[in-house]
Symmetry: C2
Subunit: 401 residues, 2 copies
């Protein structure tokens, strides 16, 4: 497994969040000519030396150059040409005086301030030269970089394609949401949430229909799909229970165990397997576990595949813990929490008794507090850094803890 080498050509306006797969070369000088940085008059600096409020320099008004227009006038000593911001400087001129310092009367331009040679002029190629690299291969594009590419004449860019991710819900007990309820079953939620999560981190997800946790079905799904995807995420059937046959089946197919079982809470039964150069992830069935495992483990892999640095969404704030949090030595806990502001400080309410099946509660909190492996407990009132997942909106509540 290695970062994606396949590229695609897309229009710059669709390239936000994409990574250049080739150096982008400027098609022109930027600016493409010497041009005015202000509205005013192009002139020769030597003609306005010593100009002042009481003794203006007097120049002959000989015409105007609009932005986008090729100047037809050539400036001679003692002459001035009206220009706008972006107008090309006519030959013979070497500076621009701002409109504010001038008065025009009977084709005479009175200039009340001297300017230095080059003043208010952007020189041709000052920002970048024709043929120079404007953004290098591996650059992550945003709106500013899209602007500079377009400005350099580039409409289409060569970027790495996004990683294709197949999401496979595994379980006898699963029903598709929207279908009639069947006693004893539960509605699959992991695959829809994983779809959204993968997409939000720049992957291209595909939903597979629900698969029964049977060896031949798993083999079939892997054999039919592995070559078409960069990675497969199975969710469900990963623990050491009776129907938890996914890791076993993958190994029988020749997969190498990268890991199976994490020292984390939740998401302990997560596994990753290497098969035919691809990674197949076995995500837990409990929704909170599946989402934490995907965001903290799978999404970084997707970023790596995409030539990007990984960054968790959300922000980090410092706050005070309102209850003691217990963990276990050697285990990393992801404690769901409600982060709220009180009198200018943040308070962090940990949801202490909280099963990994409790997706409704997880969807209403707004924070995740990581307890590192070497910490066994964090006492009440400690200062902690907590990841805030969304806005501090009304939905964030601890009343269900």
């Amino acid at each position: 497994m290695r970062p994606i080498e396949e590229v695609e050509v897309i229009h710059v306006e669709h390239a936000y969040g994409r990574v250049l797969a080739e150096d982008a070369i400027s098609r022109i000088d930027i600016p493409p000519c010497d041009r005015s940085a202000v509205d005013g008059f192009a002139l020769r600096a030597e003609d306005v030396v010593g100009a002042s409020n009481t003794s203006p320099a007097l120049l002959k008004f000989v015409g105007a150059v609009d932005p986008g227009e090729k100047p037809s006038i050539s400036l001679k000593p003692g002459e001035a040409v009206e220009v706008q911001t972006g107008s090309e400087i006519p030959p013979g001129a070497n500076a621009v005086v701002m409109k504010e310092y001038t008065v025009v009367e009977n084709a005479i331009v009175k200039v009340y301030k001297p300017v230095a040679a080059g003043e208010n002029v952007c020189k041709k190629g000052e920002e970048i030269r024709k043929g120079a690299i404007i953004h290098r291969k591996e650059t992550l594009l945003d709106h500013r970089r899209i602007a500079s590419l377009a400005h350099a004449g580039i409409r289409s860019v060569v970027v790495y394609r996004e990683p294709n991710v197949l999401i496979v819900p595994l379980g006898e007990e699963l029903l598709e949401p929207g279908s009639p309820y069947v006693e004893g079953k539960i509605y699959d939620c992991n695959s829809y949430a994983l779809f959204a999560l993968v997409e939000s981190y720049g992957g291209k997800p595909t939903l597979h229909p629900i698969v029964a946790p049977e060896k031949n079905r798993i083999v079939e799904v892997v054999q039919q799909n592995l070559r078409h995807y960069d990675t497969i995420l199975f969710t469900g059937s990963t623990a050491v229970g009776k129907s938890d046959i996914l890791p076993e089946t993958l190994q029988e197919m020749g997969a190498k165990v990268l890991f199976h079982g994490l020292r984390t809470k939740p998401a302990k039964p997560t596994g990753a397997f290497e098969l035919e150069g691809k990674i197949v992830f076995a995500l837990p069935g409990f929704p909170v576990s599946a989402l934490i495992a995907c965001e903290y483990l799978v999404c970084p892999v997707l970023a790596w595949l995409s030539h990007k640095q990984f960054e968790l969404k959300g922000t980090y704030v410092e706050g005070f813990l309102t209850r003691t949090v217990s963990s276990a030595y050697g285990r990393r806990d992801f404690v769901r929490a409600v982060v709220r502001k009180q009198n200018g400080t943040y308070l962090v309410d940990p949801i202490v008794h909280e099963g990994a099946s409790r997706i409704v509660t997880f969807s209403k909190v707004n924070g995740i507090l990581e307890v590192p492996e070497e910490v066994e407990s964090i006492p009440k009132n400690s200062k902690v850094v907590v990841r805030v997942l969304g806005a501090f909106d009304d939905e964030a509540s601890s009343d269900e803890s």
Copy 2:
């Protein structure tokens, strides 16, 4: 102008970042039945009182219930039924003992630990009741909320539609990137960057071809498009120059000036006009100005239209200023800066002499330092809070300042 009331129905997996336009009601109890939180044996707590390592309780093994299966067995005193995580608790049982504390021999389950009634059982409807509101109208959806909606049986959600934004590049001097270069012209970059920026903040942009800054053309574009879009962004031709006729034309069409001219640097010539209940923005032609004005002014309006709280992208870090920054009293400056880490602290190199046309430079810095209206200068070595726009990658450099 008011927040968008029109809604659309979309599948939950596509609802990341969208806002519910109706309360979402759970179709089922969650959990849908009393179910086991662990792998183990369902039993009656009263049958294992006093069980210990030396004196296990002995129960009769009477069968198993798989997850998703409706139990066919009813448990009688002295009996145990094997269950997995998620299995429905069979009638008669009131607790589950974890597999780890049991040994099965000859259809006898030896239980080495007592359990309390209700232990390891998730009660039906514990998280949410059928018919209850799972997420309220106005809730911003993320992957966790998508999971809880799907888990409640909901595949399709009613969300507000996204704001439609028409982007109109205005200027004689503009060329479409990708087309052959014509002397004296510049390649339009604003509209492509605005497209990407608007989309990254949840708007639905449409690109209009380049329009000549002529009154009749502007009237035509507004008349033909205003009813189809929530807002129009013109870029270019906003200042008080000769061809800057956009504000004039809009007012002649009956538009009310919301503002024209900002006490900011860059983006001073920005304007906003109300026409037929819509806002028409006049963004500057200089790319840095246009992008700053759009992100700091237009995008908050898009958020408001979308029923969302606005949040600027990026993160904020505290760092030390390496050069003095000068501003003007009463003006808000957005100073481009390079933020870099040195020996564990952040250094902020402001790009001091920097025109608003310098999009290439802007695309290579990674920070924006806001200087508020009441501050005239920030001395070298001051501690400042700076917005970091992207990763600290190789492209961020101050060598072009």
